[in-house]
Amino acid sequence: MKQLALVIDLNVCVGCHACVTSCKEWNTSGSAGFMSDYNPYEKDPTGTFFNRVQTFEVGEFPNTQTVHFPKSCLHCEDPPCVPVCPTGASYKRPEDGIVLVDYDKCIGCKYCSWACPYGARELDESQKVMKKCTLCVDRIYDEALPESERKPACVLACPTSARLFGDVNDPESSVSVNIRENGGYQLMPEWGTKPANHYLPRRQTSITIHKDELTRVDNPLKKERQLPMPGKDEQTLDDITSW
């Protein structure tokens, strides 16, 4: 069964928030209605967002790593927010595994947001319905767009390609290969929600060099250094002299 999802490479994310703004821009202009903002230019601005980038510091100074951590709906394969919905407004599409909210059925009881351990759902203060990441369902199937652009807005916006998009249940897809080969993992596995979105860990490339490897055993100069210094009137071609 197809399961579309994002794979987010924490090794590459630089925390620029381009995915946050492009998500807001695309989805607030979408056919499903705007994502409301209150006091956007005043004290205490607030509004609906599907995606956020957070920053964590791992370790104690001076051995610290800064981790920028984008968080949106994880489109769980066993989403706890879906069965609790009393109206059926919250649902998981069987054809591609995207978890969506039917804004015309939602009564705004917030129960699904209580049932999401990741805090991925937000009640829109203006429309009074629950909203969440749609994986840009209105983009990815839009045949009016060139094929290369049929991806979520956040994926297209990422300047470092930290966000990959594809079918995590297809073993040959680039997302599956990345999860498999780069140690992709899920968030809060303890609740059995089986998030479809995966994260690739921070990776440091390192090699081990032993002391005896610091000098080259087969250094050609060693031999050549023993050659006598050529006279001043002799030929100084590289292949017959030591310099």
Binding site: T48, T55, V84, I107, S113, E190, W191
Partner: protein, 325 residues
């Protein structure tokens, strides 16, 4: 979690309504077995059911304030196969309607004897309706409790004690209300209801204290390490991604001080259990309307505090992502 007063009033009001109905029906059963004097259908069961009905309707009314789209509330009966909230939405109106029918049958004396059990025990219509409604009352308690108990990662709620507390606390307040009502109705059942109210309030104290003790030593399964998936004992959030508030910071943080959380716990323990138990014990010997009014008002006010604490105490794992601005 951020306690919502709409849900606090919904759960406490319907709890008292359900408890009052259970109290009335218990009285009727005792009378049917000739243990208690038979009460007047008209003034006692009729008016009593009306009071229960009003409590339930007030609760239902409060619940609408919780919804973003109350005009679509009818849709919420759809998913009863999977959602406890949907089940509650079905059982609550059914219970209200049956309580009303029970009251009407008593008030207008539409109460024919349907059959006789064992040749000696006449079963009339109200006894049968009451039996059905008793089942509905308990079903409603289970639905209300399971709405909270079924969310496994809200570890303070995910326990059978949550359902037991809803049953016992609602029934206790209902029996206290019944004692007050029977004093007003001058029915002579004050001692009976006050006695049961003392027993149920004591049981409720045991189970609520058990859940308080359980919640004191909860080990949270989620941590920052599992939340962002980095295996390290020292992780600090440096930015949650925005400065002012969002739904995530408003809905899941109660925002009250530690001192307030601690004191509200003692406030509800005194108001729900200590004061009503003392006043009801005095009320057992001398029927005093003032004492019973005080007992019910104290217990109901205490239950509002108890429910506030119940919501505020639940620690949602999403809060891990919103530690620092």
């Amino acid at each position: 979690m951020h306690p919502a007063f709409s849900v606090i009033f919904l759960t406490t009001l319907i709890g008292a309504g359900q408890g009052l109905f259970l109290a009335l029906y218990t009285g009727q059963l005792y009378s049917a077995f000739n243990v208690l004097p038979i009460q007047d259908s008209h003034t006692f069961y009729g008016i009593g059911s009306l009071i229960a009905f009003l409590f339930l309707c007030a609760g239902l009314f409060a619940s609408f304030f919780h919804l973003g789209h109350p005009e679509r509330a009818w849709r919420s009966a759809a998913m009863w196969r999977t959602s406890w909230l949907s089940r509650e939405v079905i059982v609550l109106p059914a219970f209200i309607a049956t309580t009303m029918i029970y009251g009407i049958v008593h008030y207008f004396d539409l109460n024919p004897v349907l059959f006789t059990l064992g040749g000696a025990f006449p079963v009339d219509l109200s006894l049968l309706i009451g039996a059905v409604n008793t089942a509905l009352a308990f079903l409603l308690f289970i639905c209300t409790g399971m709405i909270y108990a079924c969310i496994k990662f809200l570890q303070e709620w995910a326990s059978p004690l949550t359902v037991i507390n809803f049953i016992l606390l609602g029934t206790a307040s209902g029996f206290t209300l019944a004692a007050l009502f029977s004093a007003v109705a001058n029915s002579g059942l004050v001692g009976f209801y006050a006695g049961w109210a003392i027993i149920i309030t004591t049981l409720a104290f045991v189970s609520r204290a058990a859940s308080l003790l359980r919640n004191r030593q909860i080990k949270y399964k989620s941590s920052l390490a599992t939340a962002i998936g980095i295996r390290h004992s020292s992780i600090q959030q440096k930015s949650r991604g925005f400065m002012a508030g969002s739904f995530n910071t408003r809905e899941y943080f109660h925002g009250a001080s530690q001192w307030f959380m601690k004191s509200i716990k003692w406030v509800f323990l005194v108001l729900v259990f200590a004061i009503p138990l003392a006043l009801l014990s005095i009320g057992l010997n001398q029927v005093s309307l003032t004492l019973l009014v005080l007992a019910f008002v104290a217990q109901y006010t205490g239950l509002i505090a108890e429910r506030w604490f119940f919501f505020a105490q639940a620690n949602h794992p999403q809060n891990l992502y919103y530690q620092t601005i």
